[in-house]
Symmetry: C2
Subunit: 422 residues, 2 copies
């Protein structure tokens, strides 16, 4: 078979300039999250196929890169279908592996457990500009904290990090799955249709209230329910405080507990009062988020520079129980690492340079004792914190220096065979 110079379809090679930015961003993220007491962990990139196909991953489960069984376990002749051929798959997110990890190690871990994960995930999506089949995710999660302190800390840690990376003027949109459900219940929609309704609601920013209304009516829902639903959203939009309006309407109807709204208010107030960067946090009753595992608060980062969301998360209190039989409160926030990088590159972000950079150019033919002296000098400068590139001098020295300028080397030392030239 011929060798291919290209990376596999839909995945990309990362060039030095982007890599430098990524390393810088990873450093800022690890340092800032560290200040909040999050500790790094890592799980294998490969997971048992059963864990990846347990319907917790929604649509992502259709996009798994599956791994062929090996050795005697692979029996091609008797295989009936894909499921007989594979035993593992590349993870499509970091949440399923985290929950498996926590279930496996809970008694070795502190409680609550504050985890930071940075790692690649894979999805066999249709390749398109700016979206790749291998991409980095960056998640923080708090397991074992039932109170809204988890949400407050997650949002503060994430927004502080974004601030340190130079982002401002963004929005954190927040909502609650229980509020979403209460609104649907209040309007008389059948419970089994909630997911379908939320899928339509999710399009509000694209198709507007009329679009949502007509899509729901076409979906066969009662006109009364649809009207009541749309009125709720209009009421919230017009009210000074959407949450107060909602609480007035829904509480006492048996569909929503007052603690739910109270807790959400607390999160918004605390974050607003203690934030360390320029952004706002707003209640957004149309925020849905796709993953079916969310059980409480959900939130998302909206960037003015970027149409789509740049990250999000929420509470998923029922997921550990699927592994262990015993539920553990859990809440997470994932930064859209690749989008952050994309925005920073498009904005021409410049990494603060720390090192002095010097290039040594050595003429060919210098004897070994001369070379030793030069290298010893380079070693000393490195010891003192300078970045020293040692290279052979090219015939076209001017061109070589121009190329090195592009790599950030503006200072040169030249060493010649003839000691008089040095």
């Amino acid at each position: 078979m011929a060798l291919s110079k290209k990376p596999v379809t839909g995945m990309k090679d990362i060039m030095p300039a982007e890599m430098q930015l990524r390393d810088y961003v990873i450093g800022v993220i690890k340092e800032t999250y560290g200040k909040f007491g999050f500790t790094s962990i890592e799980t294998p990139c490969v997971e048992n196929i059963a864990n990846l196909s347990s319907r917790q991953g929604g649509e992502n489960e259709k996009l798994i890169f599956k791994i062929l069984k090996r050795g005697e376990k692979l029996d091609l002749a008797s295989a009936q279908g894909e499921e007989d051929l594979v035993d593992g798959g590349l993870r499509y997110d970091l949440t399923v592996p985290l929950v498996r990890y926590y279930s496996n190690h809970a008694n070795e871990l502190p409680s609550p457990f504050k985890a930071l994960q940075m790692g690649n995930v894979w999805r066999a999506d249709h390749p398109q500009k700016g979206r790749y089949r291998q991409f980095m995710q960056c998640d923080i999660d708090i397991l074992g904290e039932p109170s809204n302190l988890a949400e407050i800390e997650l949002i503060l840690a994430t927004t502080t990090t974004l601030g340190k990376l130079g982002f401002k003027g963004f929005q954190i949109r927040i909502n609650e799955r229980r509020i979403l459900k209460a609104m649907a219940a209040y309007c008389g929609f059948p419970e089994e249709a909630y997911d379908q309704i939320f899928i339509t609601l999710d399009k509000m920013d694209k198709i507007g209230p009329e679009g949502v209304s007509s899509e729901l009516e076409k979906g066969g829902f009662a006109k009364d329910s649809v009207e009541k639903y749309l009125e709720l959203f209009k009421g919230m939009a017009d009210a000074e405080d959407g949450l107060v309006f909602l609480a007035d309407r829904l509480e006492g109807q048996g569909v929503l507990e007052s603690e739910t709204v109270q807790s959400l208010k607390e999160i918004i107030a605390s974050v607003q009062a203690t934030k360390a960067s320029e952004f706002e946090i707003v209640f957004d009753p149309t925020l849905v988020r796709g993953m079916s595992y969310y059980t409480g608060t959900i939130f998302e980062i909206a960037m003015p520079e970027f149409g789509a969301s740049c990250g999000g998360g929420g509470r998923y209190d029922k997921m550990v129980g699927r592994f262990t039989g015993k539920d553990v409160p859990a809440c997470g926030f994932s930064i859209g690492f690749e989008r952050i990088i994309l925005i920073m590159m498009e904005n021409g972000f410049r990494i603060p340079e720390e090192n002095r950079k010097v290039a040594y150019l050595i003429e060919k033919g210098i004897a070994v004792d001369g070379l030793c002296k030069i290298i010893a000098q380079a070693q000393e400068e490195r010891q003192d914190g300078t970045q020293v590139l040692v290279a052979r001098m090219n015939k076209n020295k001017k061109f070589q220096k121009e190329q090195l300028n592009k790599e950030g080397y503006m200072e040169f030392r030249e060493f010649y065979k003839n000691p008089l030239k040095n």
Copy 2:
């Protein structure tokens, strides 16, 4: 299918304490290699199966985790064998992907190109203690540098890094594929049998000269050749300088160019004279290294604490040509990252702590304005560089503090509902 709490067979979850060490080591490696002018790059973890099966990877090609084709491309009914089912695989090293990357991007890259790669690789080896099927590799490579400046810089960069991590008293063993071949030619072994001879020679440290001698004779090689071969090794061992002895014998026999020995001497002398950490570099004529792609110098790190090699590398001038049709000089050095971590953990290495660490314990039931004040204070301390964990106070506060002590929190602030207690 039931969910599994365990990681897939042969791969491991990394716990916070180990992860902290890994992050620290990664930081030291990136910083030190950076001072030598190496720039980070990254390639996808998945490679085209053709690239992984091109007989450059030796035994590792038998250990590939292969990835099932997806969608219409997967035709189970007509598949004759494995090769019809898969289109990609997880990389088993970082060298094949680097060479593909360089072939793809050479005209966007500086020349010479000094690359640093840190990334996971996968091999479906028999799981055993301390060896996992997913493990991190850490490679530096210089492409486009024909002179031994490449070897000198690679060895200095690697050994300086090891020194910064606290390693000393180790050995760099160095040899040359062309010297290995010249010795075999000098003794009259047939060229097509060189690989077989080198496999036996590689066991010298385990089975001794007698073992090598008898294995070669059993292999059907002429007694004369075997005796001459063993005499060579004895002569080198007894000589004051093995390389001088070897040059005296082999040069002028038409099997070895004097530049080869001269260059190796230069590498050893320069490294010895300019090293920034405590180690020695020695010529080891029995060093073979398995990978068939090496064309010149080969080297290895031998640690007293650890029986096996802790890393190695060499020159592979013919590999880029397999992708592009045009050879490019190339040389690399790979640190055995997982072994380094294992040794550091066994030695109880302690990471230099940078941050002050404080835990805030908040009694349940504090009103939102009180909470805001506490969190604002935490935010301020974080801004000043302190690591602040904000947690709910447990009923058993003493136990909670003991647990937090284990995580390194020795300083506490307690906040009570009753303001008089604060």
